[in-house]
């Protein structure tokens, strides 16, 4: 039985089918796109594996129709140009398991134009350099937001000038059209995200978005009716690269903000409302207004991280934050990594025998499972700890150690088979296997089935290199 939310949708069909797309293609099966037939090309278009432009046999008008047909429920908006461009939006579904989420949430940190020169430069440098490696991937921030705290046109332009050559794309935050114009005169060719248009400056900001061909954010706090009106108005002027900010309310206002984020996304995905089919912005940085005088920097940092996670879980495509503490950003970066992994791709690595460092017949043998998160974590730890060892990777259908112990994929028999099939018995002279701490419940079972002696290693593989060193010392 399948629980896809689609069954609740009341029969609204938003996405074009392969047949819908095929009807718009030349149907000549010329093969110039590299596909065997137009039908094959249509299938790949539907899966987003190819681009309409790869078909050279369509006139521009025809191609636009195809592009329209395959446009995602949420429009993709590009911020920045060239190497430093990022894309936000592009989602098709309400729930990750239905397909996947596209384009990881952009994490943006704001810099105030009212900081001293040294403070400003230091914060920009921090934002550009923050990185955190986990499971073989380097996680980084996405963009810099220049904030017109001073309210001064000159100061805003000056601050913008300073980040002109940053390696990250820009968001320009001011409600003053004069300040925005001054900044756009400097970086308008870099496609910064304009923040933002409100009901009070809509015309002027819209003109700037058109003049400089930049994406624009609509800030309409706590009023979706008005947001729809203003979005319609921007669209009527031919502006299509829009980002929606319904306001980030925290603490007792949390519920209303969650409601508004979810309503916007549901209107886009399930109702196909053209005024809401845009990426959503959240501003966790507001914790630095609410709690002035209350709470410490630490409280604000903790709450900002939690708000960022909350909104990312509720469809935020771009977040503006204030804090640059690494302990605050690590959990947010980690959540983003998890939410945006593709559930259609197997979360497993190839089982078998892996090697680390220099090997001989006395090299210790470790065991883990083939869940990719587990494997890459163990691999990273063994490498960074300069360990010399064999690593047997057990096929648990991509399950973690504790999960596969409970689910009976991690058993004595399975480990014994792996030992035999891997040929490890020809490579080492000893018969001693080190298993993860969480595998302890099956240690006896493994000994019975394989005839190997089993040692229960640490629960966390960060301790594995130390553990191996200790064994080595003891052996001497």
């Amino acid at each position: 039985m399948d629980y896809r939310a689609g069954e609740l949708k009341g029969g609204i069909k938003l996405r074009a089918t392969v047949m819908d797309i095929y009807r718009l293609l030349p149907k000549t099966n010329c093969g110039k796109c590299g596909e065997a037939s137009c039908m094959a090309f249509a299938t790949k278009l539907n899966e987003k594996e190819v681009e309409p432009i790869q078909c050279t046999q369509m006139a521009e008008k025809e191609r636009e129709k195809v592009e329209d047909a395959i446009a995602p429920a949420v429009r993709e908006v590009v911020i920045g140009t060239g190497d430093k461009a990022i894309t936000i939006g592009g989602d098709e579904v309400m729930y990750r398991y239905e397909l996947t989420f596209y384009n990881p949430t952009a994490l943006v940190i704001e810099v105030s134009d009212d900081l001293s020169e040294e403070e400003f430069d230091a914060k920009v440098k921090t934002i550009e350099n923050i990185e955190f490696e986990r499971t073989g991937e380097l996680l980084k921030l996405s963009a810099i937001a220049v904030r017109n705290k001073s309210g001064d046109v000159e100061k805003f332009a000056k601050a913008t000038e300073k980040v002109k050559n940053s390696k990250l794309p820009l968001v320009l935050c001011s409600f003053n059209p004069d300040a925005m114009k001054a900044a756009l005169e400097i970086v308008g060719d870099q496609r910064p995200l304009i923040y933002g248009a409100t009901e009070y400056n809509l015309e002027n900001m819209a003109d700037l978005a058109l003049e400089y061909k930049c994406p624009i954010t609509l800030f309409v706090p706590h009023d979706l009716e008005k947001m729809k009106e203003l979005s319609y108005n921007l669209r009527s002027e031919g502006i299509n690269d829009i980002v929606l900010d319904p306001g980030t309310y925290v603490r007792e206002g949390t519920g209303d903000t969650l409601d508004e984020f979810i309503m916007i996304r549901r209107l886009a995905v399930e109702k196909g409302d053209p005024d809401f089919r845009f990426p959503i912005m959240g501003v966790p940085a507001v914790h630095w207004i609410y709690e002035s005088g209350l709470g410490t920097m630490v409280d604000k940092g903790i709450r900002e991280a939690v708000t960022a996670a909350k909104l990312m879980n509720s469809y935020a495509d771009i977040l503006i934050m204030h804090g640059t503490e690494i302990w605050e950003l690590i959990p947010v970066l980690t959540l983003r990594q998890g939410l945006y992994t593709d559930p259609r791709k197997p979360q497993a690595v190839d089982p078998g025998l892996y090697t680390f460092g220099e090997l001989d017949e006395n090299t210790p043998v470790l065991l883990t499972t083939n869940f990719s998160l587990t494997f890459y974590t163990v691999e990273g730890d063994l490498k960074s700890g300069d360990a010399n060892c064999y690593l047997l990777v057990l096929d648990t259908d991509g399950r973690a150690v504790d999960v596969s112990v409970a689910g009976n994929q991690f058993t004595g028999k399975a480990v014994a088979d792996l030992i035999k099939e891997s040929g490890i018995e020809d490579k080492v002279s000893h018969r001693k296997l080190i298993i993860p701490g969480l595998g302890a419940p099956v240690s006896g079972d493994i000994e019975d089935e394989s005839g190997w002696e089993v040692a229960v290693g640490p629960r966390d593989s960060s301790q594995a290199p130390d553990y191996l060193n200790k064994i080595k010392e003891e052996a001497k």
């Binding site: 039985m1 629980y3 939310a5 609740l8 009341g10 729930y95 990750r96 986990r134 904030r147 705290k149 309210g151 409600f175 809509l202 015309e203 706590h222 729809k228 009106e229 203003l230 319609y232 108005n233 009527s236 980030t248 309310y249 603490r251 206002g253 949390t254 519920g255 209303d256 409601d259 979810i262 309503m263 209107l267 109702k271 940085a285 507001v286 630095w288 207004i289 609410y290 630490v298 903790i302 939690v306 909350k310 879980n313 204030h322 503490e325 690494i326 302990w327 605050e328 690590i330 959990p331 980690t334 959540l335 998890g338 992994t341 559930p343 979360q347 869940f371 998160l373 966390d460 960060s462």
Partner: protein, 383 residues
């Protein structure tokens, strides 16, 4: 009316007027001036309509659901009661949930030297006695519930007897008046025996027995719940079908939807939380769609977050664990809460505080809360 227009017209080019011997009834004033005001308003609206085009009408995207989540009562008699579940919609703007999410504090029957330091420092003085520990969780940190983990009954831990387990339960029951979750040691052979003894010791108190799963004698756990009036935690490992099978088996043993809480398994942030998101979302959607085998409240073992190295491991490049730990636990729980989870097993006071604060907004109507003004955040934010 015409006179009024003429008067207003006259006044257009006038900076100030002086009125001599003026007298007018109040009612009259209202009657006379209203049309002029209305006209002025109409005019300003016309001006606005020139720039702001009218979009199609905004309609909140509400759905109706054929199914609902059943309510489970924990705590009975003189003990405070806590209700879980009862949702009739997926989102708050469709229908606020009748009961807020609940946090239950983890307490152990042994001192647990392995607990991370940020937690130990809050409970160091009470860890020798589960009753004192529970009391502190309720009194100092506002716990809605307490989970007593009978870790000491594990054959490889202290191998405490069922009788000793029953005594620990009695101690905690006497120390606090909130409902209890009773957990075993995780030993599939001994847990059913221990839970049975604990259930008997807590007869008619409506505790939550944790847990029944397919790897142990779930019939014995279910029977203990039926015999002594408790609810059962039905634990499946990130697998909706396994959850349905287990729930079906438990209901065959005499438990109803109102006696079961599901634990679909919480994988911690960074350690597969996305799998839990998928399974929990599908479970709740299934319930609202009408699948009677999934219409129970859900639980999260949020404390799993503390197993993540990012939460506990000392590493200067990552900043202090005092902050990392609580954030890791909060975000793990919060993510599950946004997927529909009703009860959270947690350890750190800060995490509990933030999670409870957010959860309490889930029972409020959309647009019923007074909000602060955000319109000038660009200038109002600190540097």
């Amino acid at each position: 009316m015409d006179q009024m227009s003429q008067l207003l017209k006259l006044l257009e080019k006038t900076d100030s007027i002086e009125i001599n011997e003026f007298r007018m009834d109040f009612d009259e004033l209202e009657l006379q001036i209203m049309p002029a005001v209305q006209r002025a308003m109409r005019k300003s609206k016309e001006l606005q309509e020139k720039t702001i085009l009218e979009a199609s009408k905004f309609v909140p995207p509400l759905e109706t659901y054929p199914g609902k989540v059943e309510e489970v009562q924990l705590g009975h008699g003189k003990r405070k009661s806590v209700y879980l579940g009862g949702q009739t919609a997926l989102y708050r703007f469709e229908e606020p949930q009748p009961n807020p999410p609940v946090v239950t504090f983890d307490v152990f029957d042994i001192p647990m030297p392995g607990l991370p330091r940020p937690i130990r420092e809050h409970f160091d003085d009470v860890m020798e006695h589960p009753g004192d520990w529970a009391k502190k969780a309720v009194k100092d940190f506002g716990a809605n519930m307490v989970t007593i983990h009978l870790i000491g009954t594990g054959p490889k831990v202290m191998d405490k007897t069922p009788r000793q387990a029953a005594q620990d339960i009695e101690e905690v029951l006497q120390a606090v008046d909130v409902p209890l979750v009773i957990g075993g040691s995780g030993d599939p052979k001994k847990d059913p025996i221990i839970l049975e003894a604990a259930a008997q010791a807590a007869e008619d108190e409506r505790c939550l027995l944790a847990s029944a799963n397919l790897d142990l004698d779930y019939k014995r756990v279910a029977k203990a719940a039926v015999d002594y009036n408790h609810a059962v935690l039905s634990w499946a490992i990130t697998d909706v079908n396994m959850q349905k099978v287990l729930n079906r088996y438990l209901m065959k043993e005499g438990l109803t939807q109102n006696d079961i809480v599901m634990d679909p398994t919480t994988c911690a942030l960074g350690y597969g939380i996305e799998f839990s998101i998928d399974v929990i979302t599908r479970t709740r959607l299934g319930a609202l769609k009408g699948d009677t085998e999934l219409q129970m409240p859900m639980s999260s073992g949020t404390t799993n977050a503390w197993g993540s190295r990012e939460a506990w491991m000392k590493n200067d490049a990552w900043g202090p664990t005092e902050y990392r730990g609580p954030i890791w636990e909060t975000i793990t729980g919060l993510t599950m809460m946004l997927c529909g989870v009703d009860i959270f097993m947690m350890l750190h006071p800060t995490s509990v505080k933030i999670l409870t604060e957010i959860g309490n907004t889930f029972t409020q109507e959309y647009l019923s809360t007074e909000l602060t003004d955000l319109s000038e955040w660009i200038t109002e934010l600190e540097n």
